[in-house]
Symmetry: C2
Subunit: 234 residues, 2 copies
DNA sequence: ACAAAAGTGTTATTTGTACACCCATGC
DNA sequence: GCATGGGTGTACAAATAACACTTTTGT
């Protein structure tokens, strides 16, 4: 077997959306040990010998923040030789979107401090974690354009106004209400589940994301997508 | 320092396009040692202690296939605990697009056999390399839609007919000539560099990819892109 | 009555799609 | 003059962008 002087870790960028304040946040933990003691960092840690990478990411995430049952996806692997002062440590980064209200952070749950930070007001971060978050934000902004990620960031039931506000926050620009609604409804991936109650204005229709409809859209759309050929969006 | 029972490798999926035969190919090497002796595999190998990941990928690629000076980009990290019979080996996969004519493979150059294979006629592959190539093909098909990848796969000068044939091969479907031309020329990222000579039909205009024009397009287009908001292509 | 947010009608413009046709060259 | 690809005109359909308007609720 080949000699192995390289350690392997996983790190998780967890995004949460605060729909009251219209803010996008990331989940961080405060380090208790050197290096970067007391710095904030991404939840993560060393991969164990017989553990799949995604498994390791989910385990570390739960251990350090008690967040569980989330869908994570691989982001990128960071392997610059100097990224960790302890030696050669390569890290596989994952990212996920969660509903912030469903994951309140119990401060100091087990000596490990975890907290949500606005992504535009992050504290100084350990290692190259600022780069990792930056890449995750870029990925999120791209992803939001072709996948219905919004639904993972909102409560199960939501209004079109909330959904639009989320998109405006993630993209960082205002959208036209009329066109947003037409577009999102034409996709036919939402189902009505009721009306708002007790608001001081016309009550909005509440919607829920319908996964079956979304799958149907995927199947139906894929050939057209290919046919369209090249967009050269960027 | 944390104990480290995990080895780290890199693997490269190198795509080449044969414009005479209109075939997309991948570059493979034949293994000389166990495990998977005599199987075909992706060029790659162990990352050295003080080496960046991308550096390792380029080094292994050149050592095993003598292909150099290519732009590689990270694809995905494969870390299933069972993927290598020798023990725990995690592999960071890269991929690249090259002009096949510029990289003829000198068979048996140094006891290491390398060859181009049509991506729809791959031999049995070592490890999980079939999965890696599959993911690379998917990535290529997606990428082709929003980035002008074609130019890396063609000779420096090419006709619109060749470019269209490439897109048809990668996407696996026919495109309308009129619309393809209108679209690609409207992007204004090509410059004319002459005419074909000695062909038994009307000589085609030769084009070259203009990187400055492409950068300009990127800059100009990005705000519109964001504004467009959501496509939900899939 | 008013504020606030939900929700709708409509139009000009741009983009996508499809099909038919003409052009220049070598043999 | 014919086969072979290169290259163009055009018209209909669909998507996009923009703006002004009406509706329903609580106070």
């Amino acid at each position: 077997m080949h000699n192995c002087p390289i350690s392997l870790t996983v790190d998780c960028v967890i995004f949460g959306y605060d729909s009251h304040r219209r803010e996008l946040k990331a989940l961080l933990i405060q380090r208790k040990n050197a290096p970067y003691r007391n710095y904030w960092a991404l939840p993560g840690g060393f991969v164990e010998k017989q553990e799949a990478l995604e498994e390791a990411a989910l385990r570390e995430l739960e251990e350090e923040t008690s967040v569980k049952n989330v869908f994570i996806e691989q982001l990128y692997t960071f392997g610059s030789p100097q990224r960790d002062p302890r030696g050669r440590v390569v890290s596989v980064a994952y990212f996920a979107l969660v509903n912030l209200e469903e994951h309140p952070i119990h401060a100091d749950s087990d000596a490990q401090q975890a907290a949500w930070f606005r992504i535009d007001q992050l504290p100084p971060l350990a290692f190259d974690h600022a780069d990792i978050i930056q890449m995750a934000i870029t990925r999120l902004r791209n992803k939001v354009r072709y996948q219905p990620i919004g639904f993972e960031l909102l409560p199960e039931q939501f209004t079109l106004g909330q959904l639009q506000a989320l998109y405006e926050t993630v993209l960082g620009l205002p959208l036209n209400k009329r066109n947003f609604r037409t577009r999102i409804l034409k996709l036919n991936i939402l189902e009505e589940v009721g009306k708002q109650q007790g608001v001081a204005h016309r009550p909005a229709t509440l919607y829920r994301f319908n996964k079956e409809k979304y799958r149907a859209l995927e199947r139906e759309n894929y050939p057209n997508l290919l046919k369209r050929g090249l967009d050269f969006e960027i």
